[in-house]
Amino acid sequence: MVVGLLLGGVYGSLSMGLSVIFGVLKIINFAQADFMMLGMYFGLALSLVFDPIISFIIAIPVFLVLGIVIERLIIVHVTDKSEASQFLMTLGLSIILQNVALTVWGPTFMTQHTHYQAEVLPIGSFYLSVAQTISFGLSILVSLTLTLLIYRTDFGRVIRATVNDRDAALLVGINVRRIYVIMFGAGIALAGGAGVLLAMYYPIYPTVGSTFLLVMFLCVMLGGLGNVLGSLLAGVIIGIVQSVFSLVLPHQLTLLPVYALFVITLIVPTRQRYHRR
């Protein structure tokens, strides 16, 4: 259970950014996992000088700016377009990011060598990975901060207004364009930060994002589109389900119950609507 909790925290932190972007901009960012990959390389580079926690703090504003630039240059062109255009644009961005990483760092995987990697916290006969525990803790912190920002501040009220009714928000003078830019940047910042945390214990290579992309989407769909805390909770549930079922199922089938849960979640509301008719 504890293992699942930590693993789920990682999943949740990876998916929060995706949830933010979809919730506000209504864009499914297929390049989200590749920004996470960039965050891993960023964390690796900074690990030569800084502690990973410091790297995480540095990564947030850096990736926020990166996200803002990407939004202003690329995403802005598809914000009001069809879903197919958005899909193609973000998929293209994903391919570009992977190939840039391949060109710059090559296909050879790298690992970060920090003292966190080897350190463990003994709990009885079980050892808790310090790296994963830190990831989990920081993920919770970020999630709570973001939730407070959205639900307890004036800026958060503006964001929620934009999400609820974009046209009405425009009418009352909210700069919707600015909200989109900032929140896309925030989503990318979350991905970059999550990458820095993941780099503490996971091998880094240009296509590492593909390993986590499906789970990220599962977290967002299960947690509710645009619901940051929901994504984190969904991640935790997925991690726990995966870990618990790994005790009784072959490891390769441990995501099967998660997919089943996902399908049930999609079917049940549909049936309820059908019965109401």
Partner: protein, 442 residues
Amino acid sequence: MAVSKSAGRSVAIPVIAAFLIGLIVGAGVMYGVAPSLLGTKPTVPVIQTTTSIPSAAPIEINLAGIYPLTGLYALDGQLVQMGAQLAVNEINAQGGIRALGGARLNLRVVDCGSTVDSAVAATQRLLSQYNISACAECSYSSSLTFAEIPIAMKNHVPWITVSLADTITSQQNPWVFDTSPLGSTMAIVDYNYAMQLAKQLGITPRVGIIASSDPTAQVQLQTLLSIAKNNSMPVVYQDTTAPGITDATTIALQIKAAEVNVLFSTVSSANEIILIINTLAQQGVKLGLFTAAGDSLLIPAIGQALGVKANGLTAVVYNWANTFNINAANRITKALNITFAHSLTLNGYSSVYLLKAAMEYAHSAKGDAIRDALATMTVTGEVGALYPTSTHTLHFVPQGPGMGYRLQGGTALMAQWQNGIPVCIYPSEFATAKLITASFGG
């Protein structure tokens, strides 16, 4: 009279479309795609006489280098490419294929990725784009090779591969030449030697097996289970991972709970191996022996990632620097400025020399002639020792009527990490170093 914009637009679009179509067709004709689409290929001039006829400009012979350069197997593909390209450069510097008037070799490299779809697309693209004479140690993963070899057969291109799965050469495809021992044989060697080592360590083996889901790993898993059963050796832990695992903690905990002290790994992805070993170390799992039937454990990045945790890890491989090919191995490490020649680099290198020998024997660069040469010739001398065989010569034998070929007497070797370099420690006639009994996690 004003001309409407829509009328102008309706004329412009067909003109633009016609121009684009013409451009594409023209490019296709220029690059030889159109002829292959029409069912014909540009032919390579073939010299059939036994004496070489000097020509003003030597012809060029294209070899396919279809390697996974991205994705899960990127590291492995890169290692093969290094060796193959070095051999091509060496052969060209030495004067090329003498029987063909000094014909130069060209290694046409394409990334086959790590999925069957990408491998098929890459293979079809390469074979339609160039007149390929043969494939030099293509792919890596058995699942990718399975997808490629029907295309090889259709195009009459002999396919040299190192894929371990037994079924690679048990299909009706006489164009496949596998330079590795059967995957199941590797597992047998791995088991037998591991039991000897366990005896040396004075431990009563509690065997665990962790496998990945690809065909080779599964064949090796089944072979290990079968041998263990035949030897009344209980397997206290067994599991299969899917590609791209995100966490190995439950695996480590289960291994620890089962008190495994001899762990066999048939996991083929280096990333997963690192994740598993680091997690085993984190969870304080004490193993007497960690051994793998395959070379994924021996890539340089593993040593860099694991550091001292790598010492004592052993792996059964289809090729390694040994007493018979040490000169070639040293040439490779010197030329490429690397610490050691991985088996994939050795095999990439050796496959090109093998193809050179076949072309010299056949006096031809045509796929059919090369295939016939590979199927009948026996290579001796330094080239004959590039792959480890019991006879120290290279001779392929079919695995059945109309089936693929494997090297006669192909011998698996065992290599062990020692102070940052994997060295051959078994069988003794091939060994370049003695076994060390470092215990993992102890």
